[in-house]
């Protein structure tokens, strides 16, 4: 394989080259590090690079590969969203509050991926504390979309999406609380999967909303996503919310036919307010699935419209609890010369948190306060159950639900920052999936004005295998996932 196509190859292709020793892990790692060095100054997708450590891990991987001891991920470079605690390496959540936080522990996802032989190149940029849909609230500056540098990459896993799209690494980790893997995957033209709640351990992932957060793979193809998900999945005694369910071999049935697969199309997703070209692009993608033997079925998700309000009460409420630990006492940012305890708390939090984080803590605290708890938080949890039931009922008539991953293509930097509500609407198709705890993925489905569009597939609980199979069949007969931003031709 020609070295100049290394940064465009899929993880699956690279593993084949690595195991056949036509390529060394060291060459591959150097190639990725060079690309980051050349292109990241413009994109700002990566905020911490671990060059020395990465080359050391690559050398170790080469020893294993030489001995024939390589596993499914050995030698593959990877980038972690800066929400995953990495022992000895700064983990900031793109916040001033954790600017100098160096965890003495690894997240379970990090240690599992390391044990599987991946090479960590560094940490990627994100919206502060995972709150956002554009990666514009980061302490370390915005990340640009490699398809158009004046546009956002989406968020909150925007750094990871931009990095994979730009060829910095074949594998990236993200987290998704209301759409933060799927929406940036859609906006950057890559494949992103949010597993079922409980499929992947949350231990060591800096918490935003504990009943909604899930970690997942961000890759170029569904095949690569399956490779990563296999390693990431599985019950963890250190995370009581991780599910003690069997982890199937996600790849074993990926090549199987989808003849007869029933794909539910929610009426509510294709309302008149959906942009016409988006609707056409998604319809064309669905037609490809029909050509593969799938059947489209009209379904109803009656409480879709209540999703945003429900999410924007529950998520901030949980965030207000999870972020109360940041008090300037034990770790994280502490204000200068605190006068007393109250001053310590007030100034550390005022100075340490950005505006969107403060906004959500305030909303969440209010929704949980005495006198308002019943009207807001409790009511939202009740509506959440209705939303969950909508999906359960729909899955009596179909096996997978499909629709857009985002309402449009990547928007211009700064165009929604003054209007929080407009920004919240970015997650309109994704957040109900988190509320219901179901798996969802976004796969590249084409371009509108040269900007990527993602098709979202939603599955039954713990049925990631069906999503991966449908996505893989789609990627066998289409080549939207092979499209690269013009940036790909730059440097390296």
């Amino acid at each position: 394989m020609a070295l100049d196509s290394l940064t465009a190859a899929t993880a699956t292709e690279l593993v084949s080259e690595l195991q056949a020793r036509r390529l060394s892990a060291t060459e591959l790692t150097e190639s990725c590090l060079n690309r980051i060095s050349a292109v990241n100054p413009e994109l700002n997708a990566v905020i911490t690079v671990c060059e020395e450590q990465a080359l050391k891990e690559a050398a170790e991987a080469d020893v294993m590969l030489q001995r024939g001891d390589g596993g499914p991920l050995t030698g593959l470079p990877l980038l972690h969203k800066d929400i995953f605690c990495t022992r000895g390496v700064a983990t900031t959540c793109s916040s001033k509050m954790l600017e100098n936080f160096v965890p003495p522990y690894d997240a379970t996802v990090v240690s599992r991926l390391r044990a599987a032989g991946t090479i960590m190149l560094g940490k990627t940029n994100m919206d502060e504390f995972a709150m956002g849909s554009s990666t514009e609230t980061s302490r370390f500056g915005v990340t640009r979309n490699p398809w158009n540098m004046d546009c956002v990459p989406g968020g909150s896993s925007g750094g990871a999406a931009a990095a994979v799209a730009a060829g910095f690494a074949p594998l990236g980790t993200g987290t998704d609380t209301g759409g933060s893997i799927r929406q940036p995957a859609s906006l950057c033209g890559i494949t992103g999967l949010k597993p079922t709640y409980g499929r992947v351990s949350r231990l060591g992932i800096i918490a935003f909303a504990s009943s909604l957060d899930q970690a997942g793979p961000m890759t170029r193809t569904a095949e690569d996503a399956a490779l990563m998900l296999q390693v990431m999945s599985g019950v963890d005694p250190g995370d009581s919310t991780s599910a003690d369910v069997e982890v199937p071999d996600f790849r074993s049935q990926m090549g199987d036919s989808i003849q007869g697969l029933r794909i539910g199309i929610p009426r509510q997703y294709f309302s008149p307010s959906l942009d016409t070209r988006m609707a056409q692009t998604i319809q064309a993608a669905l037609d490809e699935l029909v050509q593969e033997g799938a059947e489209l079925i009209d379904i109803d998700l009656p409480h879709t419209e209540q999703g945003i309000a429900t999410y924007y009460i529950i998520a901030p409420a949980e965030a207000s609890a999870n972020l109360s630990r940041y008090d300037g006492v034990r770790f994280g940012y502490r204000c200068g010369a605190p006068q007393d305890l109250t001053d310590l708390y007030e100034r550390s939090r005022t100075e340490g948190f950005g505006d969107e984080v403060k906004r959500r803590i305030l909303v969440g605290t209010y929704a949980l306060s005495a006198g308002f708890y019943d009207a807001y938080f409790k009511k939202a949890q009740q509506v959440r159950r209705l939303i969950s039931h909508d999906f359960k009922n729909a899955f009596e008539h179909c096996d997978v639900i499909a629709g857009p991953a985002a309402p449009g293509v990547a928007f211009g930097l700064g165009t929604k920052t003054q209007d929080p509500l407009a920004m919240y609407l970015e997650d309109i198709y994704t957040l109900s999936v988190n509320l219901a705890g179901l798996p969802g993925m976004s796969v590249p489905a084409g371009l509108i004005d040269d900007m990527p569009v993602g098709l979202q597939l939603i599955g039954r609980a713990f049925d990631e295998a069906t999503l991966l199979r449908a996505a893989h069949r789609f990627q066998l007969r289409t080549d939207h996932h092979r499209a690269r931003p013009a940036l790909a031709e730059v440097a390296s």
């Binding site: 605690c85 965890p103 231990l203 800096i206 250190g238 009581s240 630990r325 034990r330 994280g332």
Partner: protein, 61 residues
């Protein structure tokens, strides 16, 4: 006027587990300060509580 006495007993018992209720850290009385606090106890970023099963068994008993 006659009064009826109504008394209630609220009993608090320390459950004699070997480790803390939400983390596996030790809980020995009289140990040096801060030597039995682990990352979970400190609420460090990313840490999650895990319930001590023996605490439940003792409590239910």
């Amino acid at each position: 006027m006659s009064w009826e006495v109504v008394m209630g007993l609220e009993v608090h018992l320390q459950l004699a587990t070997e480790s803390k209720i939400f983390s596996g850290a030790a809980n020995q009385f009289g140990a040096e300060p801060n030597e039995q606090a682990c990352a979970v106890d400190l609420g460090m970023p990313g840490m999650l509580p895990v319930l001590n099963a023996q605490a439940i068994r003792y409590a239910v008993m």
